[in-house]
């Protein structure tokens, strides 16, 4: 038998090793799953994790990496801030949708004007929309003590209904032959968020993600705010003793993560997605939770985890086309990955000893 002995602090080596172990375990168990379903496990794993980067169709799929990783990283940066403080925003998906709607609203209101201020105004509107949607759970928690987990999650469903209403109602494209969905912003130059370097997949959202990573790193390691966030998460009473006001931290973390998710939504609607549709929310807000955890709430980790998650998205689509794997494979992989990560995390927090 074994017994667990708590460690006083988490060794860096294990902190780095556990996400890698979790990825390997996911590949292994995923392979078993594929084999059980009658697929060739080696081919499936290679298609998901290798081919998007180095396979025959890599020329097409490589730029997709940044397209998918951008929003994930952007959202995960904000979530990591809150998770560190013990503030659980799991409604980033809703903030993402509302950010996109607000940004698109500015563009559609200005249509067809061509002016330099339109895109910046959209960015502002997207961030503000996400911020406001994130502030609802923050204020309800500060004023009434309502659980931010449940409120932020309920608001995802509300946001989805609003997106559907927009697509069928106020934002419906008047020239769209009565199909639901807004005008396509990609075809509206003043509002479009195009690829900045051909075939790189980099658009303004990617730039924003890089800025967010740098800012997160700076705040968490250098600024007193980062110290306060970490203190609040590790020992709330010590944080109060140090002079941290918990209500301000709740508002800050939910507001910032909401704004970043809103930005991600805006860059998506003005870029790759192009329009508000009934099913605009594509799950980035939930996957970003996994990215934040897998990246150990650390900017560098989030960067790598975001790229890896993007890879599974692209690889999953590829496997769907090439091998006929079910579309939901990616979701299963992502859920499994989070499980393994949380399980292996034991190694960072405890020392395992043989019972004598």
């Amino acid at each position: 038998m074994f017994r667990l002995e708590p460690r006083a602090s988490a060794p860096l080596g294990w902190q780095i090793a556990t996400p890698i172990l979790a990825v390997l375990a996911t590949m292994f168990v995923g392979g078993l799953l594929f084999a059980a379903m009658g697929f060739d496990p080696v081919a499936a794993i290679r298609t998901i994790f290798w081919d998007p980067l180095f396979g025959p169709a890599a020329g097409y799929s490589r730029p997709q990496l940044l397209v998918k990783a951008g929003p994930l990283i952007l959202i995960a940066c904000g979530l990591a801030l809150g998770f560190r403080a013990g503030i659980w925003n799991i409604g980033a998906e809703g903030q993402y949708i509302i950010g996109a709607i607000c940004g698109a609203a500015v563009a559609l209101a200005a249509y067809p004007a061509e002016a330099f201020w339109i895109f910046p105004a959209m960015i502002l509107a997207g961030a503000l929309g996400g911020w406001a949607w994130g502030m609802i759970p923050a204020l309800l928690r500060n004023w009434f003590g309502a659980s931010e987990i449940l409120v932020s999650l309920m608001l995802v469903y509300v946001a989805q209904k609003i997106a559907a209403w927009m697509a069928f109602g106020p934002m419906k494209n008047p020239e769209g032959f009565n199909f639901p969905g807004s005008r396509n912003l990609q075809q509206y130059p003043a509002a479009a968020n195009p690829e900045l370097i051909a075939n790189s997949g980099l658009h303004w959202g990617g730039i924003a993600a890089i800025v967010a990573l740098a800012a997160t790193w700076f705040i968490m390691s250098r600024h007193v705010l980062g110290f306060q966030v970490r203190t609040a998460g590790a020992a709330p009473r010590a944080a109060r003793f140090a002079g941290v006001r918990p209500e301000r931290l709740v508002a800050l973390c939910l507001g910032v993560s909401g704004a970043l998710a809103g930005l991600a939504g805006l860059f998506e609607v003005a870029g790759p997605a192009g329009q508000i549709t009934e099913s605009f929310g594509s799950g980035y807000g939930f996957t970003a939770i996994i990215v934040a955890f897998l990246g150990r709430l650390h900017p560098l980790g989030i960067l790598l985890a975001g790229l890896l998650m993007a890879l599974t998205y692209i690889g999953g689509e590829l496997a769907q086309m090439m091998l006929n794997l079910p579309a939901a494979t990616v979701q299963v992989f992502q859920g499994m990955l989070l499980f393994f990560l949380l399980g292996f995390d034991l190694l960072t927090r405890y020392r395992i000893r043989r019972r004598t």
Binding site: E5, A8, S9, A10, R222, H223, V224, L225, G226, F227, R230, T231, A234, A235, R237, A238, R240, F241, A242, G243, R245, R353
Partner: protein, 502 residues
């Protein structure tokens, strides 16, 4: 005297610590037997083995002539061992009857149990209403629940772990009367404490532990408190130097201080002079934490209630008060005064950010924090590999020295500490008390909130007591008797009358 319980050659090793080594002693029928030792001497490991919470590595125990090797507490209870814990093992949201039922192997039906609780509790002078929720009971009443729970099992051996640490002197007297009554009926009682006076006046024999070994079993009445202390510590205690203190001008005024919450402060008033130590006694849970929070700034209070050097601090948060020189050290080291997962160096940032210039324009100077942590470690002899060590990895005494040292090096105008030596070994406790005296010697005002009366009498110039959120008027410490202090502490709230609400 026939032995009810006997231990022979008991040993237990934890990683890096020999907690118990070749322990042997016995408790006789009808005997109140003291287990005496400092924190960390191995008392709690020993009783956990008797109660089945820890299994010994070697040695054997005998209970009533039978080998005693309980696999878990239920087996121990079945064999006739009962235990009253230092930190109550009660369930706040449950009723007295439910709590008692949880402590029994085969509780009778609810109605019978409630009746028996009333009967037994009255018979032993500890009346209790079985339908009340634990959350609504005082510390003394909670202890009664624990004792009744034990008594209903007719234990052969009753273990009491530091039972008087939460009681006023008067409440403690009632407890001892109950224990004597039990002993007279033949119950063997193992009484754990480090309070020499109560052991000398109430126990038949005392087994003294030091560093996990039995130093000896003695008749405590035949030895002076000083001799017992020497056996317990292994050396004469360091003499505290309280010379050189001249109280100066008033620096802190607190008036009409009230708070809300479960244990609200009610119209607390006090003054503090430079160079003075004000001792605040009282049983924990009577508003100590609330008072510290109101003074530290964690819970700001109404305007005009906290005034330092003519400045009204009432509305200020902890950081603003620290800038002005009002520092504090809360009771709970892990999670309140320090973050266990953080390094010592990071823990300096909790309170010393502004005063030591560790945070400038919102930016953290990590190397300055490290240097300051090293300064605290050196000045207060904190035993640790270095400032990078996690606070949670330090022993209680060393972390407490660090916490107190962090504030003392901040050169406070006023320092407020709560239970500064709770759970700390004697050496560290002496060092901390000396640091507080030195601080007062340097013309700072110090408020010491503590449950330890000996400590307060040793340190403070004036003494007052906190009871049910009210602070008594302070009196000069010199010339105070223990009886007077007992009365100031509230004279055992309801303990003598033993009210049972209908």
């Amino acid at each position: 005297m026939t032995d009810v319980f006997r231990a022979e050659g008991l040993g237990k090793t934890y990683p890096g610590v020999r907690a118990n080594d070749d322990i042997g002693f016995s408790v006789g029928r009808g005997e109140i037997h003291a287990l005496l030792g400092e924190n960390g001497a191995g008392k709690s490991t020993l009783v956990k083995m008797i109660y089945g919470l820890v299994r010994p590595d070697e040695g054997r125990m005998v209970l009533n002539g039978q080998p005693h090797a309980p696999a878990d507490p239920r087996a121990a209870r079945a064999a006739g061992v009962a235990m009253v814990f230092q930190h109550f093992s009660l369930f706040d949201a449950l009723t007295v009857a439910e709590n008692v039922a949880l402590g029994m192997e085969n509780p009778p039906p609810r109605a019978d149990l409630s009746r028996r609780i009333s009967e037994v509790s009255t018979a032993y002078g500890l009346p209790l209403n079985p339908a009340r929720r634990i959350a609504s009971l005082s510390a003394g009443e909670r202890q009664r629940v624990e004792i009744i729970r034990c008594l209903l099992q007719d234990p052969r051996l009753l273990i009491m772990d530091e039972p008087t640490s939460v009681l006023t002197p008067q409440e403690a007297e009632i407890l001892f009367a109950t224990l004597r009554q039990l002993a007279a009926q033949g119950t063997a009682i193992l009484y754990i404490s480090h309070k020499l006076d109560e052991i000398r006046s109430h126990c038949d024999r005392a087994t003294i532990l030091r560093h996990g070994k039995v130093v000896g079993t003695v008749d405590p009445r035949a030895h002076s408190a000083r001799e017992l202390a020497a056996m317990m510590v292994g050396a004469e205690m360091r003499i505290i130097d309280r010379s050189g203190r001249v109280p100066g001008a008033e620096i802190l005024q607190v008036q009409d201080l009230s708070s809300s919450g479960e244990m609200a402060l009610k119209d607390v008033a006090l003054t503090l002079r430079a160079g003075e130590i004000l001792g605040i006694g009282g049983v924990a849970g009577n508003g100590q934490e609330e008072l510290l929070a109101a003074l530290s700034g964690e819970d700001p209070t109404a305007p005009g209630t906290v005034i330092m050097d003519g400045t009204d601090l009432s509305a200020m948060g902890p950081e603003a008060r620290r800038r002005l020189g009002l520092l504090s050290a809360p009771e709970d080291r892990l999670g309140h005064a320090a973050v266990p997962e953080f390094s010592l160096s990071e823990n300096t940032l909790l309170t010393a950010g502004a005063r030591q210039n560790l945070v400038r324009h919102g930016l953290v100077d990590h190397s300055a924090a490290r240097r300051f942590a090293e300064a605290v470690i050196n000045a207060f002899d904190v035993r640790t590999p270095g400032p990078g060590t996690a606070a949670g990895a330090l022993s209680g005494g060393n972390l407490q020295k660090f916490v107190i040292g962090r504030e003392v090096l901040g050169k406070p105008r006023v320092l407020v500490v709560n239970q500064p030596t709770w759970g700390v070994d004697a050496g560290a406790a002496a060092a901390i008390r000396q640091a507080l005296l030195d601080l007062a010697g340097n013309e700072a005002g110090v408020i010491v909130i503590s449950q330890d009366l000996d400590e307060l009498l040793e340190l403070s110039d004036r003494f007052c007591a906190l009871n049910q959120g009210r602070l008594s008027a302070p009196r000069p410490t010199e010339g105070l008797t223990i009886e007077e202090i007992g009365l100031m502490l509230g004279g055992g709230h309801g303990m003598e009358v033993g009210h049972v609400p209908a």
